[in-house]
Symmetry: C2
Subunit: 373 residues, 2 copies
């Protein structure tokens, strides 16, 4: 016991003394949760208490503290790992979770993404170029209307066609009806094109429904599942991803996770949340708002996400970043320079307003990213 | 269809024009998620699109926008309600979810807390005075050690004895062993005292374990369950709360939820998160850091939580606020003046450092809150 520890980097605000006090406080708060004076002077103080491994200045009023914890503190549970990383200190101002460094002994407990970058490409029969993804919307269309859209998008050569995250199980397009029709529409288009487009069903739903929905989607031809872990819980996503009876790629949607990253002095870094944590929670691709679109992520934050999706993490595979928002025919070449080929471009509005119609718009996009016809 | 709408109050930052643009953007982003120019001029624009119902100045650079949505948009799902309330806009700076106004037609879909204020008091046979709760800690104690603590706390007259939220399923005190011993210890003390103390087991765990853990805890005499919805998902808590085969009171713990409330221009208000949403998600009591303790909540924010726990919400019962952190013998009288009797005081450190020992410390607390012996 107590042979290995794992480390977590936090940034903390304040002058040197204040920041160091915050670091010491993290050591207590994330483990024993009692005042230092009450910590027993035995293995609890020696091993269970967090330890400051390093403490360095970032800027005048910000410091980086690397804190280590005993592996035993998390007892093999992803939920307890999350709790140890950032549970109570999420409530304390001026502490941000930046990065975690997990040894193989911890990583072994998590299967991580089933497909990852390579597996997803194999599934889509596309080894090199950036992949294309489009949401089916708006909310209010009938299942038939959404399926017709899916057919056209697949015909135009989109690789991944997903439900909009607001389309769940409403009377306009009930889940089962929609999934059957959209999956069929995409298969029908694939027969015509010879492509391997997949339909990704949004299964974000009640805790006692989500597993059933995953199984239903798989049985009726969906090629992937979209889950918003901010809504259903990160561990629920992990459960679906790791379940061998499902075995579909998982697309993580950022709904309700925004507050975690919106303030750079609190919450969780883009790198950790959309990179490392998404991977531990089984996502094969992580959807997030691209820089320059209608959200506020910066180029630097998007770069951090890319890094987090591919940093070496033992057995846990690298995954594909899936930026969305404001991606159009004009800026795609620039975005390819930024992202390289290992990316899924999530394109919405600009396809639907293409002047030669939807199918031609898709073909145009596919050509720009280097797709063959 | 489209006969009723529900309303949500947001605060948005910016000058009048900027704030109004943000409000219009919420209407799009939380429903159709396409640019206004692409919204079809049929029932989708008329009903599905969000509508600004009112827009008023709060301060110079802050406005309150009340936005209504079609009830049909959420399709009876709590998850989709959460998504509609704050999914994508959680990623946009300067928007905060303040309050929701849900008509009976929506509220009917949720059982809410099984016990609520009255039910929890009935269970504990204590109609009037503030209730007392203590966590078992620190992490690292054996199950036997925790059970011995539980025995003494129950003997001293604590009403609710709960696992520390960092105590999950570690080798020091494995879940099943700990739950059995702690529940028995409390029952043994109850026989001596004649009180109705309950042991509350922390079941925050993997998505595929949490239900089993709830059933196990019930079967072995736990009188309540603690769940951290920030870790396992709000809807997972709801599922456990609504399940008739479990039927135990639920204590919601704020771990990992802090980032939601830490910045007053983003995220979710204390009122909505720890009050309204906790209730919809089935909590009977909501744990949060008290003002003046080692966290940063203000008196005003704690007042907002109290209001959120009891505001009229159709069939959804009021619940008990459970402030913790920095509560001691000296400030309890002041806290009773602030909270009144409808509160659970979560007391940690100050009990353990009482000069006449743990049991006497508990008795002292019990006396101060008006408990009989």
């Amino acid at each position: 016991m107590f042979k290995e520890r794992f480390s977590v980097a936090y940034s903390v605000t304040g002058n040197k003394n204040e920041a160091y006090e915050k670091a010491k406080d993290i050591c207590l708060e994330q483990t024993v949760e009692i005042p230092d004076s009450l910590v027993p002077d035995n293995f609890i103080r020696k091993h269970i208490l967090g330890k400051i491994e390093s403490f360095n200045k970032i800027t005048n009023n910000r410091y980086k503290a690397v804190i280590s914890y005993a592996i035993e503190n998390i007892g093999n549970e992803f939920t307890q790992l999350l709790n140890t990383l950032f549970g109570n200190i999420s409530i304390k101002p001026g502490i941000r979770l930046e990065e975690m460094m997990l040894p193989p002994k911890v990583l072994r407990n998590f299967k991580g993404p089933r497909f990852g970058r390579t597996g997803l490409r194999r599934l889509l029969h596309e080894r090199k170029r950036p992949l294309l993804c489009t949401p089916l919307k708006p909310l209010g269309l009938s299942s038939k209307g959404l399926a017709e859209l899916a057919y056209q998008l697949a015909l135009g050569g989109i690789d991944i066609i997903k439900d909009d995250h607001g389309i769940a199980d409403q009377c306009f397009s009930p889940f089962e009806e929609r999934v059957k029709l959209c999956a069929k529409a995409v298969q029908r288009a694939n027969k015509k094109t010879g492509y391997s487009c997949i339909y990704v069903a949004n299964i974000s739903s009640h805790a006692n429904q989500i597993f059933k929905k995953a199984v239903f989607a798989k049985r009726h031809g969906a090629g992937g599942l979209m889950i918003a872990p901010g809504i259903v819980g990160l561990d629920t996503m992990r459960q679906i991803a790791e379940d061998d009876s499902i075995g579909l790629p998982i697309f993580s949607h950022p709904a309700l996770q925004g507050t975690c990253v919106i303030n750079k002095y609190n919450g969780i870094s883009h790198y950790a949340l959309f990179g490392q944590i998404a991977r531990l929670a089984g996502a094969d691709a992580v959807i997030y708002p691209n820089f320059g679109g209608r959200f506020s992520f910066t180029r630097e934050e998007c770069r951090d996400i890319i890094d987090g999706t591919k940093v070496k993490m033992g057995n846990v595979k690298p995954i594909l970043p899936c930026p969305g928002g404001g991606i159009n025919l004009k800026n795609v070449p620039e975005l390819i320079r930024f992202y390289g080929n290992d990316v899924i471009f999530l394109i919405g509005g600009s396809l639907f307003s293409h002047d030669r119609g939807l199918v031609e718009g898709c073909k145009h996009f596919r050509k720009i990213v280097g797709g063959s016809h």
